[in-house]
Symmetry: D3
Subunit: 212 residues, 6 copies
């Protein structure tokens, strides 16, 4: 006989983060991760248990709360919408208050096409030769941000604005420059030299971005 | 000396269809095809000639003319939006009159995520086990159609409806089942046997779909 | 102590469909799925347990039973021939009685090269511009069907015919147009509009293709 | 005016080897290289010039001349069958006289599935742990040779034998071990040390494999 | 007759930047771009013109000039070492004076493995959850920087230090955060909001990084 | 109640070889395999358990023991350096005594860039047209060996030499020609015919390479 704790241990043991997979070229029509064990195995639900709701996402009908900071985003990767698993796509809804800013950021694993659902958005990216391509987009216009390049947006209209972004990865990743650089424990000397700032200036920037 | 015709011939000779390329893993930030020779060489514009407008598409602000057939679509691949070249993405705007139908079709080279911009859309796909996953989507909902599977949509609301589809290929391709099967010169006997229809029935269907 | 049922439950629980994997670029020489758990984990057999028979398939020496419908096919994906797992290839044997038809179909995840082992086969595909490329193939000839495009075949000789198809995916998928469109629960109105048929005609077609 | 030689020079200049392309994920239905310039540009024929014959290969109906050496092979890559261009597949016909041998070789860019069309073939491969998987295959059996691994075949029956190999690359490449190692100008000392052979033995092997 | 200017024009016309290609899965052994036309066509040198020197790079035997800024790097992509073309790899030599810093940067198209050739290097990266992984590396140690993530290095030893970085792309790209963000024409308001800085502070940072 | 043996059995059962994964296009920043179960599941450690040491490898600071055979190599794939998992790269340190030889070999799944850390190395590869590209490399020079092609190296200097090789696969594989051909159980007749050697000569070669 074995103690039930051992089984419990086994279960807990297995309850950790996993979503190892790859974007290109699925070998099945789809693969809905098994909810019970999705965090453990790379296994697909038995197709007989798959329903149409596995392929529909309803969580971006409404904006996130953008009132506080002027900006909100709801990224929808395969983590929150498991139907995307193995299919090589995901998306994001971004809402901007007047003057709201989506800070310079990039997605390490995807190109993005951004469609303006509402409003006037100053939108741009920087190529690896440090050239900026930026312009004000109107409702119905689309801009493409090439894979891995830094981009940014700002509502330059008189009313809230909304963007729908699409990605060619089920999990594009998101690196926000200000917090990735100043909100993390990178050695102070590195930042001082890199930005030509004093230790006090770096300390002040850190204060803003290091999570309390 | 050579006759100038020879050069003219050379130019004409080269003016034919080309857009050979591959979706995954670009080796440059972007590659705007050279407009003068884009039909000839797989060459990118000198980056100094690239402008922000190369990365913005403004042609889907308004619906296509969906009044005649109840449905219109404006596919935006790298052919019409060269900024997408090598970036592995493209998109489509589809508009539906009341009861308008997007006939069963598939994209041989991409998964699609379809976002409902306006209206109520009955939307679904068929997996390779012949199971249908279909449901009525509301404004703001998203459905994913896995790579290469047959899907379809119908406006089941009381007013026109619009969808924005995104693809993970710069040129997903489009195969509309009715015209691909009945609108082409596939031998009559094949279709009779395949669909269990008489030669008259096949002839009648062909009449509808073969372009005049 | 824990009840044995719990373990039994665990096992049953895990016994569901899985074959998540991707076609390109394996990271091992091969990966024979573990038979005991292949339906659960993406795990490879210990190489010391792998034998030559894991890499050989003997199930297409003889034709399937094509007498009833005039056509039979034996698709050999990684599901039935586990040695193909991670290697990006699979194949199919198709047998045709005189006048036998392989109905219009496509493979969502692979290109196919079809080699005529025996007989005379009218063979063709439709490109995404709705152009048909079709011709009668003789024994020893090969036709290529590009990834995701609709294709079909018919024995136009005086004796049974056989084809060997090869695919560049371990699980290319198969969508047969007649049954995918008329043998599934797609809303009647969609089909009526799509094919310009009456509800009676659709009902008659459905009767043929919906599995009883 | 310019001398016509300059143009001639331009043409000659361009007439050199090229077939740069990549296997995965085409962005068109197909791309038949333009015959006039296929050696120069990566350009596809205008689709209106493409015919069904571009997708059919008739050159392996009959065996090559295997009488002299006991073995012949007809590799059909995209170089000889341009319809394969961008589609990620190719194939080979191999014929064996009684006792004929296909020497140990490998394909640097593809997995192979080998189908026995006729005869009894001893067939095998070596994995990267130096384990041999080999067996006699009968007509109608299929063996898979994983990407990049050394494999070999020998007719062990009483009559000629034939194999149809398929590859998941439009140009898999072929490296025959004996000639790649002993038929090339690798420094003698390297070979002596590598194989533990004397200079005379190496010289004798070289004589056999260096093309005269 | 045509004017020679027309030909000259044709040549000049073609002399622009191009290196469109993709990393995965070459279809040839190698493809040395034709030097005469490499900027125009995606064409490979005739193999008979390829020499061993096409596959060897000798330009990183010595450090770059790191005395002025404390840091120098010599990136070797397929642009400077054409032998890498289509092979999916490239590399970089980085030299650090005492206290020299490689500012926070990332490569949009590649993972990097960095080997310490000489010295003691504080080295780290930030994951997309804003966690820093950093440590002092000694001579002979290797750190991996996952694809697209921000990383940085600083010589914390008493003497100059050197690193050899390798990439899994022929052209990984390089985005240096300080200059990409502050050295380009991103709208001032975006930066003020993003970093919580005043217009004067932004102006001061810009002065440092905008090329004069 | 169940017997504890059953659980033990379950654990042992699962303790077998696995590292199924694919090189291109990860969907996470990284994925450190869970050490407890890495041999069982394709699961990543919970990111909170990941440390900087998971991304650093210290095992190639010193050479292997190259004194006995004149050559040693320390391959560092994702098996020994789990931080490489899913990131598409790995590396090797090779040390050569004077006259030491790295026998003709190839990597079935990767291109290699080889950097000379120390010494003078005669280094080359054979393309699939049986042409050798070889030359003596000096310290600081780099040679690229295209994916899947046979290559070799020999120390032609007066003192020990060292090379650092990098690969664009987390597990490139290694096939050493002499042992793969003569050190395995390939049928004698195949080798006799392939190399034009007598049974005695083959037997002698086998003696050298078949592990005792």
């Amino acid at each position: 006989m074995i103690p039930s704790q051992m089984i419990v241990f086994l279960f807990i043991f297995l309850q950790s983060y996993i979503s190892l997979a790859y974007d290109p070229d699925p070998v099945n029509d789809y693969c809905i991760p098994r909810t019970e064990f999705s965090s453990i195995f790379l296994s697909c639900k038995n197709t007989s248990l798959v329903t149409v709701d596995d392929f529909i996402y309803s969580g971006i009908k409404d904006p996130g709360n953008f009132k506080h900071t002027g900006f909100s985003s709801i990224p929808v990767s395969s983590t929150v919408f498991p139907g995307l698993n193995t299919l090589g796509m995901s998306f994001v809804r971004a809402d901007f208050d007047v003057d709201g800013v989506n800070v310079p950021h990039f997605h390490p694993r995807a190109t993005e096409t951004a469609f303006v659902l509402e409003g006037k958005i100053y939108s741009g990216f920087v190529d690896s030769g440090n050239r900026v391509f930026a312009k004000v987009l109107e409702k119905g216009e689309v801009m493409v941000f090439p894979k891995g390049l830094v981009h940014f947006q700002m509502n330059v209209g008189d009313s809230p604005a909304t963007i729908l972004g699409s990605f060619n990865s089920q999990n594009p990743g998101l690196v926000k420059i200000p917090s990735a650089v100043f909100g993390t424990g990178i050695k102070e000397e590195v930042l001082m030299k890199a930005f030509g700032l004093s230790d006090k200036e770096i300390a002040r920037l850190r204060k803003k971005f290091v999570p309390q």
